[in-house]
Protein backbone atom coordinates (compact mmCIF):
# COMPACT_ATOMS: atom_id res chain seq x y z
CA UNK A 1 0.00 0.00 0.00
CA UNK A 2 1.05 3.60 -0.58
CA UNK A 3 1.06 5.66 2.58
CA UNK A 4 1.38 9.40 3.13
CA UNK A 5 2.20 10.58 6.64
CA UNK A 6 1.87 14.22 7.69
CA UNK A 7 4.50 15.31 10.21
CA UNK A 8 4.88 18.71 11.79
CA UNK A 9 8.06 20.24 13.21
CA UNK A 10 8.45 22.20 16.43
CA UNK A 11 11.53 23.85 17.92
CA UNK A 12 13.80 22.62 15.14
CA UNK A 13 12.72 18.97 15.15
CA UNK A 14 10.07 16.79 13.62
CA UNK A 15 7.61 16.19 16.46
CA UNK A 16 7.78 12.89 18.31
CA UNK A 17 4.12 11.98 17.73
CA UNK A 18 4.68 12.54 14.01
CA UNK A 19 7.71 10.26 13.95
CA UNK A 20 5.66 7.56 15.68
CA UNK A 21 3.11 8.05 12.92
CA UNK A 22 5.89 7.48 10.36
CA UNK A 23 6.79 4.15 11.96
CA UNK A 24 3.09 3.36 12.04
CA UNK A 25 2.79 4.15 8.33
CA UNK A 26 5.82 2.03 7.54
CA UNK A 27 4.03 -0.96 9.04
CA UNK A 28 1.23 -0.45 6.51
CA UNK A 29 3.26 0.20 3.39
CA UNK A 30 5.72 2.36 1.47
CA UNK A 31 5.68 5.64 3.36
CA UNK A 32 6.20 9.20 2.13
CA UNK A 33 6.37 12.01 4.66
CA UNK A 34 4.81 15.35 3.86
CA UNK A 35 5.79 18.35 5.96
CA UNK A 36 6.20 22.13 5.80
CA UNK A 37 8.34 24.92 7.18
CA UNK A 38 11.99 25.83 7.32
CA UNK A 39 13.54 22.77 8.97
CA UNK A 40 16.86 21.94 7.26
CA UNK A 41 16.91 19.14 4.71
CA UNK A 42 19.39 17.27 6.90
CA UNK A 43 16.97 17.26 9.80
CA UNK A 44 14.13 16.22 7.49
CA UNK A 45 16.15 13.34 6.02
CA UNK A 46 16.16 11.87 9.55
CA UNK A 47 12.53 10.84 9.07
CA UNK A 48 14.02 7.99 7.02
CA UNK A 49 15.34 6.45 10.21
CA UNK A 50 11.74 6.02 11.35
CA UNK A 51 10.64 4.39 8.13
CA UNK A 52 10.03 7.08 5.52
CA UNK A 53 11.29 6.34 2.04
CA UNK A 54 10.92 9.95 0.95
CA UNK A 55 10.27 13.34 2.51
CA UNK A 56 8.34 16.06 0.70
CA UNK A 57 8.57 19.54 2.17
CA UNK A 58 6.59 22.66 1.30
CA UNK A 59 8.68 25.70 2.16
CA UNK A 60 5.89 28.17 1.42
CA UNK A 61 3.90 27.72 4.64
CA UNK A 62 5.77 28.70 7.75
CA UNK A 63 2.95 28.74 10.25
CA UNK A 64 0.59 25.87 10.66
CA UNK A 65 -2.83 26.77 9.36
CA UNK A 66 -5.69 24.47 8.63
CA UNK A 67 -6.73 25.70 5.19
CA UNK A 68 -3.36 25.28 3.52
CA UNK A 69 -2.31 22.18 5.47
CA UNK A 70 -5.51 20.43 4.43
CA UNK A 71 -4.70 21.25 0.81
CA UNK A 72 -1.08 20.21 1.22
CA UNK A 73 -1.86 16.75 2.54
CA UNK A 74 -4.88 16.09 0.33
CA UNK A 75 -3.10 17.15 -2.85
CA UNK A 76 0.01 15.15 -2.00
CA UNK A 77 -2.09 12.07 -1.27
CA UNK A 78 -3.91 12.48 -4.57
CA UNK A 79 -0.79 12.98 -6.63
CA UNK A 80 0.90 9.93 -5.11
CA UNK A 81 -2.24 7.84 -5.43
CA UNK A 82 -2.09 7.11 -1.70
CA UNK A 83 -4.19 4.33 -0.21
CA UNK A 84 -3.72 5.53 3.35
CA UNK A 85 -3.03 8.91 4.95
CA UNK A 86 -1.76 8.95 8.54
CA UNK A 87 -1.35 11.84 10.93
CA UNK A 88 -0.79 12.18 14.66
CA UNK A 89 -3.94 13.11 16.53
CA UNK A 90 -2.49 16.11 18.35
CA UNK A 91 -4.01 19.60 18.19
CA UNK A 92 -2.93 20.08 14.58
CA UNK A 93 -4.16 16.62 13.62
CA UNK A 94 -7.55 17.34 15.16
CA UNK A 95 -7.89 20.49 13.09
CA UNK A 96 -7.01 18.91 9.74
CA UNK A 97 -7.40 15.10 9.84
CA UNK A 98 -11.18 14.96 9.36
CA UNK A 99 -11.03 17.80 6.84
CA UNK A 100 -8.50 15.94 4.71
CA UNK A 101 -10.78 12.91 4.84
CA UNK A 102 -13.85 14.92 3.83
CA UNK A 103 -11.90 16.51 1.00
CA UNK A 104 -10.71 13.14 -0.30
CA UNK A 105 -14.05 11.43 0.23
CA UNK A 106 -12.18 9.08 2.53
CA UNK A 107 -13.35 7.30 5.64
CA UNK A 108 -11.62 8.73 8.70
CA UNK A 109 -10.63 6.81 11.81
CA UNK A 110 -9.74 8.84 14.85
CA UNK A 111 -7.84 7.79 17.98
CA UNK A 112 -6.19 4.77 16.34
CA UNK A 113 -4.11 2.78 18.81
CA UNK A 114 -2.87 -0.05 16.60
CA UNK A 115 -1.96 -0.76 12.98
CA UNK A 116 -4.83 -1.80 10.70
CA UNK A 117 -5.86 -5.44 10.59
CA UNK A 118 -6.09 -6.25 6.89
CA UNK A 119 -6.84 -9.97 7.29
CA UNK A 120 -10.48 -9.23 6.49
CA UNK A 121 -11.00 -5.78 5.04
CA UNK A 122 -9.30 -2.85 6.73
CA UNK A 123 -10.08 -2.66 10.43
CA UNK A 124 -8.49 -0.20 12.84
CA UNK A 125 -8.53 -0.48 16.63
CA UNK A 126 -9.44 2.83 18.21
CA UNK A 127 -9.91 4.33 21.64
CA UNK A 128 -13.53 5.09 22.58
CA UNK A 129 -15.49 5.89 25.75
CA UNK A 130 -12.54 7.89 27.04
CA UNK A 131 -10.23 4.90 27.11
CA UNK A 132 -12.77 2.58 28.76
CA UNK A 133 -13.18 0.53 25.56
CA UNK A 134 -11.90 0.00 22.03
CA UNK A 135 -13.90 0.10 18.82
CA UNK A 136 -12.73 -1.93 15.84
CA UNK A 137 -13.61 0.27 12.91
CA UNK A 138 -13.84 -0.97 9.34
CA UNK A 139 -13.02 1.62 6.69
CA UNK A 140 -15.07 1.01 3.57
CA UNK A 141 -13.73 3.71 1.26
CA UNK A 142 -10.91 3.20 -1.24
CA UNK A 143 -8.71 5.79 0.44
CA UNK A 144 -8.42 5.90 4.21
CA UNK A 145 -7.34 8.56 6.68
CA UNK A 146 -6.06 7.49 10.10
CA UNK A 147 -5.50 9.80 13.05
CA UNK A 148 -3.01 8.01 15.24
CA UNK A 149 -3.12 8.43 19.05
CA UNK A 150 0.32 9.65 20.24
CA UNK A 151 2.24 7.27 22.54
CA UNK A 152 0.26 4.21 21.43
CA UNK A 153 3.15 2.48 19.67
CA UNK A 154 6.85 3.09 20.01
CA UNK A 155 8.66 4.55 17.00
CA UNK A 156 11.07 2.12 15.33
CA UNK A 157 14.47 3.37 14.28
CA UNK A 158 15.97 0.99 11.78
CA UNK A 159 16.03 2.90 8.51
CA UNK A 160 18.59 5.23 6.96
CA UNK A 161 18.30 8.81 5.74
CA UNK A 162 15.52 9.53 3.27
CA UNK A 163 15.80 11.75 0.18
CA UNK A 164 14.17 15.16 0.62
CA UNK A 165 12.30 16.96 -2.16
CA UNK A 166 10.77 20.39 -2.15
CA UNK A 167 7.13 20.61 -3.15
CA UNK A 168 5.82 23.35 -5.33
CA UNK A 169 2.08 23.29 -4.91
CA UNK A 170 -0.50 26.02 -4.99
CA UNK A 171 -2.26 25.72 -1.66
CA UNK A 172 -4.81 28.48 -2.06
CA UNK A 173 -5.61 31.06 0.58
CA UNK A 174 -5.33 30.90 4.30
CA UNK A 175 -8.50 32.40 5.69
CA UNK A 176 -7.43 32.47 9.33
CA UNK A 177 -4.98 35.16 10.51
CA UNK A 178 -2.78 34.34 13.47
CA UNK A 179 -2.53 37.47 15.64
CA UNK A 180 -0.47 36.04 18.41
CA UNK A 181 1.07 32.74 19.40
CA UNK A 182 2.01 31.89 22.96
CA UNK A 183 4.03 28.72 23.10
CA UNK A 184 4.95 26.91 26.26
CA UNK A 185 8.40 27.86 27.56
CA UNK A 186 11.26 25.47 28.18
CA UNK A 187 11.94 22.02 26.90
CA UNK A 188 9.37 19.94 28.79
CA UNK A 189 7.21 17.89 26.46
CA UNK A 190 3.63 19.14 26.03
CA UNK A 191 1.16 16.91 27.93
CA UNK A 192 -0.24 14.86 25.03
CA UNK A 193 3.30 13.82 24.05
CA UNK A 194 4.87 13.51 27.49
CA UNK A 195 6.26 10.11 28.48
CA UNK A 196 6.47 10.99 32.15
CA UNK A 197 3.76 12.95 33.95
CA UNK A 198 3.55 14.08 37.58
CA UNK A 199 0.06 15.14 38.56
CA UNK A 200 -1.62 16.41 41.71
CA UNK A 201 -5.10 17.21 42.94
CA UNK A 202 -7.04 18.87 45.69
CA UNK A 203 -5.15 16.83 48.29
CA UNK A 204 -2.28 19.32 47.89
CA UNK A 205 -4.46 21.89 49.71
CA UNK A 206 -3.31 25.02 47.86
CA UNK A 207 -1.25 26.39 44.96
CA UNK A 208 1.55 27.41 47.32
CA UNK A 209 2.27 23.71 47.92
CA UNK A 210 3.04 22.82 44.30
CA UNK A 211 6.78 23.21 44.82
CA UNK A 212 7.09 19.55 45.85
CA UNK A 213 5.20 18.47 42.71
CA UNK A 214 7.39 20.60 40.47
CA UNK A 215 10.56 19.38 42.16
CA UNK A 216 9.63 15.78 41.43
CA UNK A 217 8.68 16.63 37.84
CA UNK A 218 11.93 18.49 37.29
CA UNK A 219 14.03 15.70 38.74
CA UNK A 220 12.30 13.14 36.53
CA UNK A 221 12.14 15.36 33.45
CA UNK A 222 8.37 15.00 33.58
CA UNK A 223 5.49 17.28 32.59
CA UNK A 224 3.07 18.45 35.29
CA UNK A 225 -0.68 17.89 35.20
CA UNK A 226 -3.60 18.32 37.58
CA UNK A 227 -7.18 17.29 38.32
CA UNK A 228 -10.07 19.41 37.13
CA UNK A 229 -11.09 21.16 40.36
CA UNK A 230 -7.52 22.33 40.80
CA UNK A 231 -7.63 24.04 37.39
CA UNK A 232 -11.16 25.31 37.99
CA UNK A 233 -10.25 27.09 41.23
CA UNK A 234 -7.20 28.54 39.54
CA UNK A 235 -4.47 26.76 41.50
CA UNK A 236 -2.99 25.55 38.23
CA UNK A 237 -3.33 26.64 34.58
CA UNK A 238 -6.16 25.15 32.51
CA UNK A 239 -3.85 23.45 30.06
CA UNK A 240 -2.70 21.10 32.87
CA UNK A 241 -6.18 19.68 33.42
CA UNK A 242 -6.36 16.01 32.46
CA UNK A 243 -9.43 13.77 32.33
CA UNK A 244 -12.63 13.33 30.46
CA UNK A 245 -13.19 17.06 29.97
CA UNK A 246 -9.51 17.96 29.88
CA UNK A 247 -6.64 16.41 27.98
CA UNK A 248 -6.46 12.65 27.54
CA UNK A 249 -2.93 11.36 27.98
CA UNK A 250 -1.17 8.01 27.76
CA UNK A 251 2.33 8.47 29.14
CA UNK A 252 4.62 5.63 30.16
CA UNK A 253 4.44 6.80 33.76
CA UNK A 254 1.69 8.75 35.51
CA UNK A 255 2.26 9.70 39.13
CA UNK A 256 -0.90 10.98 40.84
CA UNK A 257 -0.80 12.46 44.31
CA UNK A 258 -3.73 13.84 46.26
CA UNK A 259 -6.16 12.84 43.52
CA UNK A 260 -9.13 10.67 44.51
CA UNK A 261 -9.43 8.95 41.14
CA UNK A 262 -12.95 9.92 40.12
CA UNK A 263 -14.15 8.11 37.02
CA UNK A 264 -13.93 11.32 34.94
CA UNK A 265 -10.31 11.78 35.96
CA UNK A 266 -9.46 8.15 35.19
CA UNK A 267 -11.03 8.50 31.75
CA UNK A 268 -8.19 10.78 30.71
CA UNK A 269 -5.30 8.84 32.21
CA UNK A 270 -6.16 5.15 32.20
CA UNK A 271 -4.24 4.66 28.97
CA UNK A 272 -1.01 5.30 30.91
CA UNK A 273 1.33 2.31 30.89
CA UNK A 274 2.22 2.56 34.57
CA UNK A 275 0.25 4.43 37.22
CA UNK A 276 1.58 5.34 40.67
CA UNK A 277 -0.94 6.63 43.21
CA UNK A 278 -0.04 8.49 46.39
CA UNK A 279 -2.98 9.11 48.70
CA UNK A 280 -3.59 9.27 52.45
CA UNK A 281 -6.87 7.40 52.06
CA UNK A 282 -6.42 3.67 51.54
CA UNK A 283 -9.99 3.60 50.17
CA UNK A 284 -9.34 6.16 47.42
CA UNK A 285 -10.79 4.72 44.17
CA UNK A 286 -7.60 5.57 42.30
CA UNK A 287 -5.80 2.60 43.91
CA UNK A 288 -8.00 0.25 41.86
CA UNK A 289 -6.50 1.70 38.68
CA UNK A 290 -2.95 1.86 40.03
CA UNK A 291 0.02 -0.39 39.36
CA UNK A 292 1.87 0.91 42.41
CA UNK A 293 0.20 2.46 45.42
CA UNK A 294 1.63 4.46 48.28
CA UNK A 295 -0.74 5.02 51.20
CA UNK A 296 0.75 8.12 52.71
CA UNK A 297 0.92 11.89 52.93
CA UNK A 298 1.96 13.58 49.70
CA UNK A 299 3.76 16.25 51.69
CA UNK A 300 6.16 13.60 53.00
CA UNK A 301 6.12 11.07 50.16
CA UNK A 302 6.77 13.44 47.23
CA UNK A 303 10.03 14.92 48.61
CA UNK A 304 11.15 11.42 49.58
CA UNK A 305 10.43 10.15 46.07
CA UNK A 306 12.30 13.11 44.57
CA UNK A 307 15.34 12.25 46.70
CA UNK A 308 15.12 8.58 45.69
CA UNK A 309 15.01 9.53 42.00
CA UNK A 310 18.04 11.81 42.44
CA UNK A 311 19.94 8.99 44.09
CA UNK A 312 18.93 6.60 41.31
CA UNK A 313 20.00 9.05 38.60
CA UNK A 314 23.36 9.65 40.23
CA UNK A 315 24.13 5.96 40.64
CA UNK A 316 23.07 5.32 37.04
CA UNK A 317 25.39 7.91 35.58
Amino acid sequence: MTVVVFVESKNGNLVKAGLEAVSYGKRIGETTVVTFGDLSSDALAGAGTYGASKVLVHRGITEGNGDQLTQLVAKTAESLGADVVVLAQDQTGKSIGPRIAAKLGAGHVSSAVDVPDTSNGFVVKTNVFSGKAFAHVAVNSAIKVISYTPNSLAATKDGGNAPVEELNLDLGDNRITVKERKLQEGDVAPLPEAELVVSAGRGLKGPENWGIVEDLAKTLGATTACSRPVADIGWRPHHEHVGQTGIAIRPNLYIASGISGAIQHLAGVNGSKTIVVINTDAEAPFFKAADYGVIGDAFEVLPRLTEAIKKFKESNN
Binding site: S95, V128, A133, H136, F312
Partner: protein
Protein backbone atom coordinates in the same frame (compact mmCIF):
# COMPACT_ATOMS: atom_id res chain seq x y z
CA UNK B 1 -26.24 36.95 14.46
CA UNK B 2 -27.50 33.58 13.29
CA UNK B 3 -25.83 30.73 15.12
CA UNK B 4 -26.11 26.97 14.76
CA UNK B 5 -24.99 24.76 17.65
CA UNK B 6 -24.46 21.03 17.11
CA UNK B 7 -25.80 19.07 20.07
CA UNK B 8 -25.27 15.37 20.67
CA UNK B 9 -26.15 13.10 23.53
CA UNK B 10 -23.59 11.10 25.48
CA UNK B 11 -23.76 8.57 28.29
CA UNK B 12 -23.45 10.12 31.74
CA UNK B 13 -19.77 10.30 32.68
CA UNK B 14 -20.23 7.66 35.38
CA UNK B 15 -22.11 5.21 33.13
CA UNK B 16 -21.00 1.61 33.07
CA UNK B 17 -19.55 0.78 29.66
CA UNK B 18 -20.78 -2.59 28.38
CA UNK B 19 -21.68 -4.06 25.00
CA UNK B 20 -24.39 -6.39 23.65
CA UNK B 21 -25.21 -8.28 20.44
CA UNK B 22 -21.90 -10.11 20.38
CA UNK B 23 -20.00 -6.97 21.37
CA UNK B 24 -21.21 -4.99 18.39
CA UNK B 25 -23.53 -2.55 20.19
CA UNK B 26 -23.22 -0.23 23.18
CA UNK B 27 -25.48 -1.52 25.95
CA UNK B 28 -27.81 1.38 26.76
CA UNK B 29 -29.53 -0.60 29.50
CA UNK B 30 -29.72 1.55 32.62
CA UNK B 31 -27.54 4.25 31.07
CA UNK B 32 -28.45 7.87 31.74
CA UNK B 33 -27.84 10.16 28.80
CA UNK B 34 -26.70 13.76 29.11
CA UNK B 35 -25.97 16.52 26.66
CA UNK B 36 -22.36 16.06 25.55
CA UNK B 37 -20.55 18.40 28.00
CA UNK B 38 -18.53 20.27 25.34
CA UNK B 39 -21.67 20.99 23.36
CA UNK B 40 -23.67 22.14 26.36
CA UNK B 41 -21.18 23.88 28.66
CA UNK B 42 -19.09 25.59 26.04
CA UNK B 43 -20.58 25.80 22.54
CA UNK B 44 -24.21 26.39 23.50
CA UNK B 45 -23.61 28.73 26.43
CA UNK B 46 -21.15 30.91 24.49
CA UNK B 47 -23.58 31.11 21.57
CA UNK B 48 -26.33 32.23 23.97
CA UNK B 49 -24.08 34.84 25.58
CA UNK B 50 -23.23 36.30 22.18
CA UNK B 51 -26.84 36.63 21.08
CA UNK B 52 -27.85 38.01 24.48
CA UNK B 53 -25.43 40.90 24.06
CA UNK B 54 -25.61 41.45 20.29
CA UNK B 55 -28.99 40.00 19.30
CA UNK B 56 -29.70 37.08 17.02
CA UNK B 57 -30.84 33.49 17.24
CA UNK B 58 -29.36 30.20 18.41
CA UNK B 59 -30.65 27.09 16.65
CA UNK B 60 -29.52 23.66 17.80
CA UNK B 61 -29.12 20.75 15.43
CA UNK B 62 -28.97 17.09 16.33
CA UNK B 63 -28.68 14.06 14.09
CA UNK B 64 -30.63 11.44 15.99
CA UNK B 65 -33.85 9.63 16.69
CA UNK B 66 -36.77 10.56 18.93
CA UNK B 67 -34.69 9.13 21.79
CA UNK B 68 -32.59 12.31 21.53
CA UNK B 69 -35.52 14.63 22.20
CA UNK B 70 -34.95 14.96 25.98
CA UNK B 71 -31.38 16.08 25.26
CA UNK B 72 -32.65 18.59 22.73
CA UNK B 73 -35.26 19.91 25.19
CA UNK B 74 -32.52 20.44 27.74
CA UNK B 75 -30.62 22.62 25.26
CA UNK B 76 -33.83 24.57 24.64
CA UNK B 77 -34.33 24.93 28.40
CA UNK B 78 -30.87 26.45 28.71
CA UNK B 79 -31.97 29.06 26.21
CA UNK B 80 -31.72 28.06 22.54
CA UNK B 81 -34.30 29.70 20.27
CA UNK B 82 -35.36 26.58 18.38
CA UNK B 83 -34.12 23.12 17.48
CA UNK B 84 -33.72 20.90 14.46
CA UNK B 85 -33.47 17.14 14.57
CA UNK B 86 -32.36 15.28 11.48
CA UNK B 87 -34.29 12.07 11.89
CA UNK B 88 -31.68 9.34 11.54
CA UNK B 89 -29.66 6.91 13.59
CA UNK B 90 -26.18 8.32 12.97
CA UNK B 91 -23.85 5.75 11.44
CA UNK B 92 -20.53 7.53 11.59
CA UNK B 93 -19.10 11.01 11.93
CA UNK B 94 -19.12 11.70 8.22
CA UNK B 95 -22.79 10.80 8.07
CA UNK B 96 -23.51 13.28 10.87
CA UNK B 97 -21.34 15.97 9.31
CA UNK B 98 -23.01 15.54 5.93
CA UNK B 99 -26.50 15.99 7.43
CA UNK B 100 -25.46 19.08 9.39
CA UNK B 101 -23.64 20.60 6.41
CA UNK B 102 -26.65 20.10 4.12
CA UNK B 103 -28.94 21.79 6.60
CA UNK B 104 -26.50 24.63 7.28
CA UNK B 105 -25.96 25.24 3.56
CA UNK B 106 -29.66 25.77 3.01
CA UNK B 107 -30.06 28.06 6.03
CA UNK B 108 -26.86 30.13 6.11
CA UNK B 109 -25.44 30.68 9.58
CA UNK B 110 -22.75 33.12 10.67
CA UNK B 111 -21.08 30.54 12.89
CA UNK B 112 -21.58 26.79 13.29
CA UNK B 113 -20.41 25.68 16.73
CA UNK B 114 -19.60 22.09 17.68
CA UNK B 115 -18.08 20.61 20.80
CA UNK B 116 -14.45 19.56 20.80
CA UNK B 117 -15.48 15.91 20.79
CA UNK B 118 -18.20 13.59 21.99
CA UNK B 119 -17.24 11.86 25.21
CA UNK B 120 -18.42 8.45 23.99
CA UNK B 121 -16.72 8.12 20.63
CA UNK B 122 -14.08 10.80 21.19
CA UNK B 123 -13.93 11.34 17.47
CA UNK B 124 -13.24 15.07 17.30
CA UNK B 125 -14.31 14.79 13.69
CA UNK B 126 -17.71 16.30 13.01
CA UNK B 127 -16.78 20.00 13.24
CA UNK B 128 -13.81 19.74 10.91
CA UNK B 129 -15.83 17.74 8.39
CA UNK B 130 -18.74 20.19 8.45
CA UNK B 131 -16.29 23.03 7.73
CA UNK B 132 -14.79 21.19 4.78
CA UNK B 133 -18.19 20.25 3.38
CA UNK B 134 -19.32 23.88 3.67
CA UNK B 135 -16.05 25.19 2.25
CA UNK B 136 -15.64 27.36 5.35
CA UNK B 137 -12.64 27.97 7.65
CA UNK B 138 -12.43 25.79 10.75
CA UNK B 139 -11.14 26.99 14.10
CA UNK B 140 -10.38 23.91 16.18
CA UNK B 141 -10.27 23.71 19.97
CA UNK B 142 -11.45 27.26 20.54
CA UNK B 143 -11.30 28.42 24.17
CA UNK B 144 -12.45 32.04 23.66
CA UNK B 145 -14.72 33.68 21.13
CA UNK B 146 -15.54 37.35 20.59
CA UNK B 147 -17.42 38.68 17.58
CA UNK B 148 -17.43 42.26 16.27
CA UNK B 149 -19.46 42.77 13.11
CA UNK B 150 -18.42 40.02 10.74
CA UNK B 151 -14.99 39.40 12.23
CA UNK B 152 -14.40 36.97 15.09
CA UNK B 153 -11.39 36.81 17.38
CA UNK B 154 -10.69 33.46 18.96
CA UNK B 155 -8.20 31.82 21.24
CA UNK B 156 -7.48 28.21 20.42
CA UNK B 157 -5.29 25.38 21.67
CA UNK B 158 -2.43 24.46 19.34
CA UNK B 159 0.34 21.92 19.84
CA UNK B 160 2.48 23.23 22.71
CA UNK B 161 0.55 26.42 23.42
CA UNK B 162 -2.23 28.76 22.35
CA UNK B 163 -2.95 31.00 19.40
CA UNK B 164 -5.05 34.11 19.01
CA UNK B 165 -6.65 34.14 15.56
CA UNK B 166 -8.97 36.30 13.53
CA UNK B 167 -11.44 34.98 11.00
CA UNK B 168 -14.33 36.38 9.03
CA UNK B 169 -17.81 34.89 9.22
CA UNK B 170 -19.11 32.44 8.16
CA UNK B 171 -16.94 29.79 9.80
CA UNK B 172 -17.10 26.62 11.91
CA UNK B 173 -15.51 26.07 15.32
CA UNK B 174 -15.07 23.32 17.86
CA UNK B 175 -15.42 24.48 21.45
CA UNK B 176 -13.13 23.43 24.28
CA UNK B 177 -12.98 24.28 27.95
CA UNK B 178 -12.68 27.98 28.75
CA UNK B 179 -15.28 29.30 26.27
CA UNK B 180 -18.00 29.72 28.84
CA UNK B 181 -19.27 28.52 32.20
CA UNK B 182 -21.86 25.82 32.58
CA UNK B 183 -25.44 27.11 33.02
CA UNK B 184 -28.12 25.30 34.98
CA UNK B 185 -31.54 25.67 33.36
CA UNK B 186 -34.14 27.35 35.58
CA UNK B 187 -37.82 26.48 35.94
CA UNK B 188 -38.89 29.18 33.49
CA UNK B 189 -36.48 27.86 30.89
CA UNK B 190 -37.69 24.31 31.37
CA UNK B 191 -41.34 25.40 30.97
CA UNK B 192 -40.54 27.52 27.92
CA UNK B 193 -38.64 24.66 26.31
CA UNK B 194 -41.80 22.58 26.09
CA UNK B 195 -43.35 24.90 23.55
CA UNK B 196 -40.27 25.94 21.59
CA UNK B 197 -40.15 24.58 18.01
CA UNK B 198 -38.35 21.27 17.44
CA UNK B 199 -38.36 20.69 13.71
CA UNK B 200 -37.85 17.14 12.51
CA UNK B 201 -36.14 16.98 9.12
CA UNK B 202 -35.54 13.98 6.85
CA UNK B 203 -31.91 12.98 6.26
CA UNK B 204 -30.11 13.14 2.92
CA UNK B 205 -28.51 10.01 1.45
CA UNK B 206 -24.95 9.30 2.48
CA UNK B 207 -22.65 6.28 2.11
CA UNK B 208 -21.18 4.61 5.19
CA UNK B 209 -17.50 5.35 4.95
CA UNK B 210 -16.75 3.56 8.21
CA UNK B 211 -18.54 1.05 10.41
CA UNK B 212 -17.83 -0.45 13.81
CA UNK B 213 -17.37 -4.21 13.51
CA UNK B 214 -16.85 -4.88 17.22
CA UNK B 215 -16.06 -3.38 20.58
CA UNK B 216 -13.61 -4.72 23.12
CA UNK B 217 -12.44 -3.76 26.58
CA UNK B 218 -8.89 -3.22 27.84
CA UNK B 219 -7.34 -6.07 29.82
CA UNK B 220 -8.09 -5.97 33.52
CA UNK B 221 -5.35 -4.32 35.51
CA UNK B 222 -3.34 -6.58 37.82
CA UNK B 223 -3.86 -5.74 41.47
CA UNK B 224 -2.08 -2.68 42.79
CA UNK B 225 1.26 -3.31 44.48
CA UNK B 226 1.53 -1.33 47.72
CA UNK B 227 4.81 0.24 48.72
CA UNK B 228 5.87 1.39 52.16
CA UNK B 229 5.66 5.21 52.18
CA UNK B 230 8.99 5.28 54.02
CA UNK B 231 10.69 3.31 51.26
CA UNK B 232 10.67 5.29 48.03
CA UNK B 233 13.91 3.63 46.93
CA UNK B 234 11.90 0.48 46.44
CA UNK B 235 9.35 2.30 44.27
CA UNK B 236 12.12 3.76 42.12
CA UNK B 237 13.68 0.33 41.82
CA UNK B 238 10.38 -1.22 40.68
CA UNK B 239 9.77 1.58 38.18
CA UNK B 240 13.20 0.88 36.74
CA UNK B 241 13.45 -2.90 36.81
CA UNK B 242 9.83 -4.10 36.69
CA UNK B 243 7.79 -1.40 34.91
CA UNK B 244 10.83 -0.23 32.92
CA UNK B 245 9.50 3.30 32.63
CA UNK B 246 12.48 5.17 34.08
Amino acid sequence: MKLLVCISKAPDTTAKIAFTDGDTKFDENGVQFIVNPYDEWYALVRALELTETSGGTVTTITVGTAADDPTIRKALAIGATDAVRIDADPKDSFYVAKQIAEYAKANEYDIVLTGKETINYNGAQVGAMVAELLGQPFVSLATKLEVAGNVATLERDVSGGIEVVEVGTPFVLSAAKGMAEQRIPNMRGIMAARTKPLNVVQPVDCDDLTSVVAYSKPDEKAACKYIDPENMDELVNLLHTEAKVI
